[in-house]
């Protein structure tokens, strides 16, 4: 196991290196100017601006400098926010995004699992259909519509929760609900399927015959069975929720990473794009490793380290 882990960690760095390099070269061919006042700059000034950010160097030189700095943990300075180091920009914004993502994952997973269980127990009744209805609606109505309606009706009209901003726990409630729609949908759907499968299997009949309670069947047997697809999907989803959602952050005026990242792409702020990509990718490969290890814990029959011989 230790050997397997070590190998995977080494691969992780290799993967990150490839992602960083590919993104770097993609940046070089991406269309668009990084300078907001480009329509006012004369050719001479354009040269000076490029020199300031090292864009006047040949691409291989830029690449070498970039990788060198990366190894030192220096991600450069942002173009759009003058002279601000990318690491500062990223880590200040990561906090709210992380908190919001974690809350939404927690709420979404719990609600989703419960919905799924009830749906499976009352298969093909109105309970099942309305659970499907909620889950599907959560996924097919775009986030921005849902968040916008929530803000307007619950925030402005009913006044139950703060309308926007990020100043304390009560401010996180509406965005958390809006963001949890996706995990709810996913958890509910997977849970329902696995639960139905489990309920019809022999060992549950046996467990029932032995007098196992409903609670035991649902949470001990069915949940365990549903965990494999759930962690596979929810693991990476947690990362993408915790690194920020453009829509939710924009609507609720939350100083998060998602909005900043998308904006940096639209204004060609190369250092911020690169930095955020690497951060995201690093978190992602770590979670994939964790998920792979979890497989073995959830179902001891799964062995990843060996081949299939």
């Amino acid at each position: 196991m230790a050997k397997y882990l070590l190998k995977r960690v080494l691969y992780m760095f290799l993967t990150l290196f490839i992602i960083a390099s590919l993104t770097f070269f993609l940046m070089k061919i991406i269309p668009g100017t990084p300078f907001a006042s480009a329509n006012k700059l004369g050719p001479a000034q354009m040269e000076i601006m490029k020199a300031k950010y090292g864009l006047d160097q040949p691409v291989p030189v830029q690449y070498a400098i970039y990788i060198g700095n990366l190894l030192k943990g220096d991600l450069g300075i942002s173009f759009q926010f003058n002279n601000t180091p990318v690491t500062d920009l990223m880590f200040k914004r990561l906090g709210p995004s992380m908190q919001l993502g974690a809350q939404a994952m927690l709420l979404g997973t719990i609600v989703g699992i419960l919905l799924g269980i009830f749906a499976a127990l009352r298969q093909n009744t109105w309970v099942d259909y309305s659970s499907t209805f909620v889950a599907v609606l959560g996924k097919s109505i775009p986030n921005f519509v849902f968040a916008g309606l929530l803000q307007y009706f619950v925030g402005v009209k009913l006044g139950w929760f703060p309308v926007l901003f990020w100043r304390g726990f009560e401010y996180t409630i509406l965005p958390t609900i809006a963001l949890s729609m996706l995990p709810i949908a996913i958890a509910a759907r997977f849970m329902r399927t696995e639960m139905i499968e489990v309920l019809s299997s022999d060992y549950i009949t046996l467990a029932k015959a032995k007098g196992a309670s409903f609670f035991e069947i649902a949470f001990k047997h069915a949940l365990r069975n549903a965990l494999i697809p759930l962690v596979t999907v929810l693991g990476p989803l947690a990362i993408s929720l915790m690194t920020g959602s453009l829509v939710i952050e924009k609507i609720f005026a939350i100083p998060g990473l998602g909005e900043q990242f998308v904006k940096s792409i639209t204004v060609n702020d190369y250092p911020v794009i690169m930095g955020t990509t690497i951060l995201f990718a690093a978190l992602f490969v770590v979670i994939i490793l964790v998920v792979d290890i979890l497989y073995g814990i959830i179902d001891p029959r799964i062995r990843l380290s060996g081949g299939n011989k």
């Binding site: 269309p31 668009g32 100017t33 990084p34 300078f35 907001a36 006042s37 480009a38 329509n39 006012k40 700059l41 004369g42 050719p43 001479a44 000034q45 040269e47 000076i48 601006m49 020199a51 300031k52 942002s78 759009q80 926010f81 003058n82 002279n83 601000t84 500062d88 920009l89 200040k92 914004r93 916008g148 803000q151 307007y152 925030g155 402005v156 009209k157 006044g159 703060p162 309308v163 926007l164 901003f165 990020w166 924009k250 609507i251 609720f252 005026a253 100083p255 909005e259 900043q260 639209t266 204004v267 060609n268």
Partner: protein, 569 residues
């Protein structure tokens, strides 16, 4: 029925929350009592209301460094916490600020000698002429790589363009060649390249503000990185601003400001809300007194509401026609396109936010001439929608080109309403000009700028806002090979008129005025070098209790210097 109840509820909520905030503001801010007493003298309507403005902005402040600033958000806050030789007043006129009265001007109108008022930085040091010299040199220094420094100084301040050229060519340059000198602590001498008609505007622009050399050098890279690493000499100072990515900041009255007695407002709290709908929701929930600009989709629902404030912005949107394109080099084709779409319908029915159809490129309500008339008085409409005329020109043009149909690319715009506008114009042109196919290409802003730069387009929907209060801000765009022309328009007569307006006519306001009006007429009426579309109107929601907000057409967006919060009605 539902809606009326609902709006009643909204008003109640608004009133109630205003009341609440008024109470809480009074409670936790004991200092708030004192100025309120003092203000009794200036106006009784502000008697017991906390002088605090809560507002929303639509973006972070990209920089507070005056020499690096390039956008209106930066300019707005720099203007409110800083000051230059001149300053825009309540009526949008540049008036002496740090300059003690009007400068002494040499006979050739190239050398300006300013006497400075006694004033202090927020750290107690006096503002001197050396501070101006330091800041201006820093702005033009290629090592600073400021975008606006060379743009505002090049060709205007003596020696500026040469420094930029040398910097770009990686040759030696001497910052002392820049035409700015401190004769003593209180006397500043500025030498211009050639006379500049709008010099007062220039010296009021944030790029020309002073900076304290000792402070800037001491802070190094940390300068302007947050509220503590800045010095202030304006009506307000920043109390809280954690840096360029901060989404909340607080400005408070600067007691050291030389005209502090005229400033009533005590505190401004700004929050960033990027979504226009959310900003409106915050306003309706009573969380703020003022929103950012409303997107045009929201405006119709506030039509006739006294909380909505509207003004004509001197920003004109137009279709640039790339005259390097063979078909668009033909004047008849250009005329056909410029006349071939119904702008009235676009402005009134589709945008529907107060924007007006533009048959010109120098906006209305922007500049007033020596005769006291608006620029638009003489030639109001230069190129209007006329489907029949357009069709005639189109057929004529096709005959001259020897073809019977054309496909033209259309590079999409970047306004919020861009998609609708583009779809409408495409449909109008294709309907009114038989044989024309318009190929829409909508691209992100950064890509459009790059393609504009490379002139990689046929038609391009774009907009322009001025940087100073003179029609030259628009007319100098289209001189042959002008920096921002980028569509290959060239007309000798036009060049002559504008060169004259920038040069020998700089000292003759009337002739200058006429030359520019004539140039605009030639460009549009004769050459149809450009297809103007509409002039933008801006809309914000503002609490009616807020009075005295100064709104600017160029540079900063607003000044809060004269704002008073009156009792809510």
């Amino acid at each position: 029925m539902k809606k009326s109840k609902f709006s009643l509820l909204l008003i109640l909520t608004l009133v109630f929350s205003l009341f609440l905030t008024a109470c809480s503001g009074g409670k936790d801010n004991t200092e708030g009592e004192k100025p309120a007493d003092k203000d009794d003298a200036t106006g009784e309507e502000v008697a017991n209301v906390p002088q605090e403005l809560r507002m929303l902005d639509s973006s972070e402040i990209p920089t507070m460094d005056t020499v690096l600033a390039e956008g209106s958000t930066s300019f707005t806050y720099i203007n409110n916490v800083g000051e230059g030789l001149y300053r825009l007043d309540q009526d949008h006129k540049p008036v002496p600020a740090l300059a003690d009265g009007a400068p002494e001007i040499s006979d050739d109108q190239k050398v300006y000698t300013f006497k400075l008022k006694d004033s202090k930085w927020s750290n107690g040091e006096p503002v001197t002429a050396h501070d101006f010299v330091f800041a201006w040199r820093r702005a033009i220094d290629p090592a600073t790589a400021s975008p606006y420094g060379p743009y505002m100084m090049g060709g205007k301040i003596k020696g500026a363009a040469e420094i930029t050229e040398a910097g770009a060519a990686k040759k030696d340059y001497n910052l002392e060649d820049l035409g700015v000198k401190a004769l003593d602590d209180k006397t500043l001498e500025v030498t211009l390249e050639k006379p500049v008609v709008y010099w007062e505007d220039l010296f009021a622009f944030p790029t020309f503000y002073p900076q304290n050399e000792k402070f800037v050098t001491e802070k190094g890279d940390a300068f302007a990185s947050n509220a503590e690493n800045l010095l202030y000499n304006g009506p307000f100072k920043m109390e809280k601003w954690e840096g360029t990515d901060a989404t909340e900041w607080v400005l408070v009255k600067n007691p050291e400001y030389h005209s502090a007695d005229d400033v009533t407002l005590e505190k401004i709290t700004v929050n960033v809300v990027k979504d226009s709908n959310s900003a409106v929701n915050a306003f309706e929930a009573g969380e703020t007194d003022m929103t950012g600009l409303l997107s045009s989709d929201i405006v119709p629902s506030y039509e006739g509401d006294d909380r909505m404030l509207r003004w004509n912005d001197p920003v004109v949107f137009w279709i640039k026609m790339n005259q390097k394109n063979e078909a668009l080099a033909n004047v008849n084709i250009r005329k056909a396109i410029a006349m071939g779409f119904n702008k009235e319908d676009l402005a009134n029915s589709i945008l529907n936010n107060g924007s007006v159809a533009a048959n010109y490129f120098v906006p209305k309500d922007f500049v007033t001439g020596p005769n006291g008339e608006d620029f638009r008085e003489k030639h109001g409409d230069l190129i209007v929608f006329n489907a029949e005329e357009a069709k005639k020109h189109w057929e004529q043009g096709l005959k001259e080109l020897g073809v019977d149909k054309l496909e033209i690319r259309y590079l999409g715009g970047d306004t919020e309403a861009a998609k609708k506008t583009d779809a409408y114009i495409k449909n109008q042109l294709e309907t009114n000009l038989p044989g024309l196919t318009v190929k829409l290409e909508s691209v992100p802003f950064a890509v459009r700028l790059e393609r504009d730069n490379a002139m990689d387009y046929d038609l391009q929907f774009a907009g322009w806002g001025p940087d100073y209060g003179n029609a030259l801000s628009f007319t100098d765009l289209w001189i042959t090979d002008g920096g921002s022309n980028r569509m290959g328009y060239s007309n000798k007569k036009y060049d002559e008129l504008i060169k004259a307006a920038q040069g020998e006519l700089a000292t003759d306001p009337e002739k200058n005025w006429e030359a520019q009006q004539e140039a605009e007429r030639i460009m549009l009426e004769e050459d149809a070098g450009l297809a103007p579309v509409y002039q933008r109107a801006n809309n914000i929601l503002l609490n009616p209790a807020v009075k005295g907000l100064a709104i600017y057409n160029y540079g900063p967006d607003y000044s809060f210097q004269w704002v008073k919060i009156t009792e809510a009605e």
